[in-house]
Amino acid sequence: MNALDPTLPHMFAALLAIVFLGGAWQKLRDMDGFAMAVEQYRLLPAAWATPAAWALLLAEAGAGLLLLPLATRALGAALALAVLAAVTLAVAVNLLRGRRAIDCGCGGPEGGQHLSWGLVLRNGMLCLAAALSRAAEAPRELVWLDGLTVVAGTLALYGLYAAANQLMANRPRLLKLRG
């Protein structure tokens, strides 16, 4: 892969850290709801839902924390990819089964988002960001303006992520209105 400008991996790693830590926090605040959502995916025996929910939550929070320091970023990105692959597979399996009207359990401010292929696409983008966060960097001396680029760029990417989530959560309501 061609080397990237060093600001880009920083930006992607910071974006994923915010998404994962924020997601883990949201799930922790409604742990019962999240365990129920895991159960609704109907991929595990019902008794495993709560342990599986805790395992997902810990993996998510761990990935978010490991992505922050430079030394553990590669590990964090790998864990993030694993979590994303697992949940995206779960979503895809249920979409193929036709069980789309279940809560995605994604947490996040939008809450109660249903399953859709948009969710799979979104997770695909996050996977891409995880892969790029550990890409080779072209050596270049960083100046103060790069700090601005990374901070503002990360916030902008997160804003796009939040807006996309909100629009996906709106879609079923719009479809219901249209009748």
Partner: protein, 202 residues
């Protein structure tokens, strides 16, 4: 020149972030609008026995053993709560139902109703610790009361007449059924409409 570019870059970032905040806020407001514009009929669905009419009288076997006389005249009112093991909102309401059952035990009996595979319901009955409630499985009951969406609740008074009913998603909506019975109105919507009518009349 470099200074000028740096300044222009900083300003552009500020504008981009402000615009993203605006886009997110707009998307959120659109979402709220969709929800508000959605038919207000949510609480009461206009079919099945009307408020004041007698509910069908059915003797149904309960999951825990014994029988439940739904719609029978007796010393207590009955709250029929229609649920399903696969409905997350129903599960969210179960602890609330338990606290209501304890608090209103003086005048109210809660009957959980559903239909489908008895095995699945028995497992749910045990897992969710519902043994304090009567739990009946009857497609006939759901059809007679025209239950479409879950969780749905029907409040029957001591004489077996329907006093309030509707789709319930929260403790407030459940309690609104009791309020409707106390105030002798069919639903909170009717009450609000009545208020508005009186307001414009004077």
């Amino acid at each position: 020149m470099i200074d000028a570019l740096a300044i222009s870059n900083a300003i552009l970032w500020a504008v981009v972030l402000a615009l993203l905040v605006a886009v997110f806020a707009l998307a959120r407001q659109v979402g709220i609008l969709y929800e508000r514009v959605a038919p207000m009929g949510a609480l009461m669905i206009d079919s099945g026995p009307a408020v004041g009419e007698a509910a069908p009288r059915l003797d149904l076997p309960a999951l825990g053993g014994g029988a439940v006389a739904v719609g029978a005249a007796g010393s207590h009112s009955q709250l029929l709560f229609f649920l399903s093991p696969t409905c997350p909102v129903c599960k969210k309401l179960l602890p609330i139902l338990k606290s209501i059952a304890a608090a209103e035990a003086g005048w109210l009996r809660i009957v959980l109703a559903s239909d489908g595979e008895p095995e699945e319901h028995r497992a749910f009955y045990r897992r969710a610790a519902l043994t304090d409630f009567s739990y009946v499985l009857s497609a006939e009951l759901g059809m007679a009361l025209r239950v479409g969406k879950l969780p749905y609740a029907v409040l029957l008074d001591e004489a077996g007449r329907v006093r309030a009913k509707g789709l319930v998603n929260s403790r407030e909506q459940l309690e609104s059924l009791f309020t409707a019975k106390e105030m002798n109105v069919a639903s909170v919507q009717e009450f609000v409409t009545g208020q508005a009518g009186q307001g414009s009349g004077t």
